[in-house]
Symmetry: C2
DNA sequence: CTGAAAGCGCTAACAA
DNA sequence: TTGTTAGCGCTTTCAG
């Protein structure tokens, strides 16, 4: 092939040898300068930097990765939806990853993806990432029949307990949805509702199950009746469908929806059926999407601290990557933030009087 | 260093030489098998595959990139918001990139990012991508004072005309917002409104300017009065603020908002001010976000074909990457899709000053 | 403080 | 159909 190591011809991108020659030093010294290693005289550093600048030199990352065995990149696996929650999380992750000096690679697992999580992990491992973030994994159709996933880099799972996998470090972040669901439910109970209905998310999602659990345990611990759960698919359309059914039942005076989109569809169905929100029925959402404060009526909801979760989790992941032998950093729980607006109120008088069974 | 090329010791990841030895062939043959090159006998292929399987072999991407000069990855630069439009676009891009066999690297440029677009491009170039997608770039504070960006890979710009940059190929996709804005405006005019007000997006965004332009030219070409523009920041909150002002003006009977979030805030403000939508004022949004059909009243809006745009644009970008010398593929315009729901109606009979019905 | 030499694991010609 | 020989551009090790 003989392209001539360190040609001074101009066509291809310049390399360390070119810079070294121009600066009158060895290639190793160029490497030292760019890695900010100690023991380089100010004078030499200046010459190297100047030569690099002049040539438009830029370190070749593939070569760096090959020689060092590290790619300085982190892969994230998301569900590939533009839903507010997952999208916010991804943006948060990107920011932190970049701030930490890593590059970000993204792979989606669409629901129904044949390869699923294992395929996504594999593709990231092929690319050679130093760590993996799995954002809101969901249960898979043929779930884990292939045994635990073997991963040789640290993994951070956000919004769910870790799936079965063997890895040098498995961390998780973003728990606490059950506590948030509890706050929502208690808010409604505190308003005087006899019980609270729940419009759940798809139960394949851990996030959906977690919220349901928080709701259920709250009712149980208060000795309230636990009404049957209605399950939606996160969409406003499914919330609307659920709302049409719920509207028929006069016992329904309070509903906790597992996300804001469904809550909005629900409110619409109730309103169309002549059930006033919050006069007849109170509704609480989840996420605090940007329009939540501006729909009619403004939605009471639970705000999720996406950025904080991403930041907290990534910090621990990077620590695990860079200190393979150290103990993992401890996790910290995100705060609960119930935003009370106008979609919740005490139950209507007629119903208040009756005692819950 | 002498780690022993092709050691049979088990610790590190196996390489091509290990596989070759086990299969009793040369390393090059292993390479041939994995690249699906022709001229490998079925028997040899089988042996190699078996050996690889047994060893858990996985090609080293860094080495491949170094040797071939291609990373098989595409970088995308987004604004780092969870706004429905940008997020949907990103998901669409991810899917197509993956389907095409490339890996995806993501870098955000937050508004106000000091490094800005140039910094993002630079970071991607450092990582060594084969192509770059710039999604919805916005004007930058100190815009382009550093001269045209020098990029040595093909670039696809979505939702805006290409910024000044020198690159082997500069493509653009996702135009046509002006046509969509025109459709929205004409729908309102067709309903009988004398003119249409516009609640614009931040004018630093090309997407916002494009929609404004489509609206303005429609009015002008119809000989209608062009009312002053109100500018929001895409948020429902800004739509609400604009709505409070607009509600004071009895001349306002129709408003075209540059996105659905602002439209929702706008509707809320109008309603609170006693101006009924669509009885007194008609409102059209833009994007068709998932909740648009379920807010009160269901929003008439323009649906954006994010997936189609991503698919169409990426196809051309990949073509440009893989056929550096061929002519670029021609662009095709996305379809215009106005979704008429219940937030638009003919203007009220008496346009001067009364409210309600 | 600086440099020389030896790879990292793969692909690219060129033989055989 | 298969193998040989060079690198790709950097980091690592070990000497000065």
């Amino acid at each position: 092939m003989k392209r001539g190591t360190g040609r001074s011809g101009s066509s291809a991108a310049p390399n360390g040898v070119d810079v070294a020659r121009l600066a009158g030093v060895s290639q190793k010294t160029v490497s030292r300068v760019f890695n900010e290693e100690p023991y380089v005289s100010a004078e030499v550093r200046r010459r190297v930097l100047e030569a690099a600048e002049q040539l438009g030199y830029r370190r070749n990352n593939a070569a760096r990765a090959l020689a060092s065995g590290r790619t300085r990149s982190i892969g994230v696996i998301t569900l590939g939806t533009a839903l507010y929650g997952p999208a916010s999380l991804l943006m948060g992750v990107e920011r932190v990853v970049r701030d930490t000096g890593y590059a970000l690679r993204v792979v989606n697992t669409m629901e129904g993806d044949p390869a699923g999580l294992a395929g996504a992990v594999d593709s990231l491992l092929d690319q050679g990432v130093d760590g993996i973030v799995i954002s809101e994994p969901i249960d898979e159709p043929g779930g884990g029949e292939a045994g635990p996933l073997r991963v040789d880099v640290p993994v951070l799972v956000i919004g769910a307990p870790p799936p079965p996998l063997s890895s040098p470090a498995v961390l998780s972040a973003g728990g606490g949805a059950d506590l948030m669901a509890r706050a929502a439910t208690e808010h409604l109970l505190g308003l005087g509702h006899v019980t609270v209905h729940h419009l759940a998310g798809p139960q394949r999602w851990f996030a959906a199950r977690d919220r349901l659990e928080g709701w259920r345990t709250t009712l149980v611990s208060r000795g309230r009746n636990v009404p049957p759960v209605v399950e939606g698919d996160w969409s406003a359309a499914s919330g609307y469908a659920a709302g049409r059914a719920l509207a028929q039942d006069p016992e329904v005076t309070a509903v906790f929806a597992a996300n804001d989109d469904m809550a909005i569809g629900l409110v619409r169905a109730l309103t169309e059926a002549g059930r006033h929100v919050p006069g007849d029925v109170s509704v609480v959402g989840f996420d605090d999407i940007p329009v939540a404060a501006y729909v009619t009526p403004p939605l009471t909801t639970v705000r999720q601290p996406f950025d904080a979760v991403a930041h907290e989790g990534l910090k621990r992941l990077v620590h695990a990557i860079e200190n393979p032998d150290a103990d993992p950093l401890p996790a910290s729980a995100p705060p609960v933030d119930l935003v009370v607006r106008a979609s919740t109120a005490p139950p209507p008088p007629a119903v208040t009087g009756r005692s819950g069974r």
